[in-house]
Symmetry: C2
Subunit: 254 residues, 2 copies
């Protein structure tokens, strides 16, 4: 919904964005509700999008299309990041045997771009391509701590949504945590996004010091002590950063 610009592209994006990470299929009516587009317009648009395979028809509605999958896989920077990170994430999983994530900063949220482990149905805090608020997750705080000051100000001045009793919702407290994270390079989370979940995260910094992504390990709060894995997570993040920088300098000399 919310302010679809009156251009074809705007409507297209509004339809595509209507699909959340957990929505496999959406029906015509549900899409109409989410996008706010008139029925006739939506109908034509869905037809056109299906023709170019940005959408596919499912058993009882529409889903994001196979073509989109292909294009997404090719999106160069992100793909590289995931390719480079994978070995490190696998290594981290070997060490911890807990769910490992790679998260990207996107607007005021984290987007999960890779995930290893969490094969058991229960523990997964988030699906691939899913989003989480920055202030309530270790990975989000790691990103936020190293993000542009302007972004930090924006997030801190907006109300911080409470997700569990332990979510940090006071700006002062969060600001102090972020300062610590900036110094130590490690972010923690104890049941702040979800009861029963604990998490460590570390930022991946680019050659210019800007945050590119963050790595995290999450596990059940009862048996999983995030502090025990801080060093491993930090090492993985650093390893990824170094590999990225090496690649960048190599390819620029090409």
């Amino acid at each position: 919904m919310s302010e679809v610009p009156n251009t074809l592209l705007g409507k297209v994006m509004s339809v595509l964005n209507a699909f959340g990470a957990d929505d496999d299929e959406l029906g015509f009516a549900e899409l109409g509700r989410r996008t706010g587009l008139p029925k006739a317009t939506l109908h034509r648009l869905l037809g056109d999008l299906t023709d170019v395979r940005l959408l596919d028809r499912g058993t009882s509605g529409y889903r994001l299309g196979g073509h989109l999958f292909q294009l997404g896989i090719r999106a160069s920077v992100e793909r590289r990041l995931v390719e480079v990170s994978t070995p490190y994430l696998e290594d981290l999983y070997e060490r911890t045997h807990e769910t490992v994530h790679l998260g990207l900063l996107e607007g005021h949220e984290v987007v999960y771009a890779a995930k290893i482990g969490g094969h058991r149905q229960a523990s997964s805090p988030s699906r691939l391509g899913g989003r989480m608020p920055l202030h309530a997750t270790a990975i989000g705080k790691a990103l936020l701590a190293h993000a542009q000051p302007a972004l930090r100000t924006e997030v801190l001045s907006a109300p911080l949504a409470r997700r569990t009793p332990r979510t940090v919702v006071t700006p002062g407290m969060l600001r102090r945590q972020l300062a610590t994270i900036r110094q130590t390079g490690v972010a923690y989370e104890f049941e702040e996004s979800r009861v029963g979940l604990a998490c460590v995260a570390a930022p991946v910094l680019g050659h210019d010091g800007a945050v590119v992504a963050a790595v995290s390990v999450a596990g059940p709060a009862i048996r999983f002590d995030p502090r025990a894995h801080a060093a491993s997570v930090h090492a993985a993040a650093t390893g990824i950063a170094l590999t990225l920088i090496r690649r960048a300098t190599l390819s620029s000399g090409n």
Copy 2:
């Protein structure tokens, strides 16, 4: 180039499709050449696409955008397939320590949707999201053998491009190979797509017998004997198929 329909969406797709799997960045002029769009039109379009992050500006041109990456990650059926397959592919990699691929049938080509191993720079025959012809790769032949008869006819009646001295370019020969593959459920390739490369592949069949994807293991022809791994590849493909079917029946009863 080739017949861009005169609609915005058509132009958009033509721009997005201009990016091949190996193109990280394309300049304005190169995009103009590939899409055949007039400069002014292209310029505006690129601006609009950048605004919605379907494209990003790179150091010296445009690249597929971060938003596309997110959307692609969410494309439901393909994502599921990759999620389900990953453990099997990892297992296969553990057994063989050679490059493992998951490939999807898309038009008259294979699209590589997942890849494990090939960490060494040399051996990778293909990038994620890349395409290869069906007749010249084990994975392509596995897909083709089990595809709709109509597709097989089309591919066999078009000229078969030679990629190496050993590429199968005679329709009769290929037809016989496909028949064998259909019986055995395993496809081979000996330096047909690339000199020095050998490969085994097996199809992943859906509950209705239609091909969904194919799994392959590829290695250097000198030390890698594809026959030795036929059983493992076949087992992985079957395992994936069974898991998919189990999931499908479970969720339909929901």
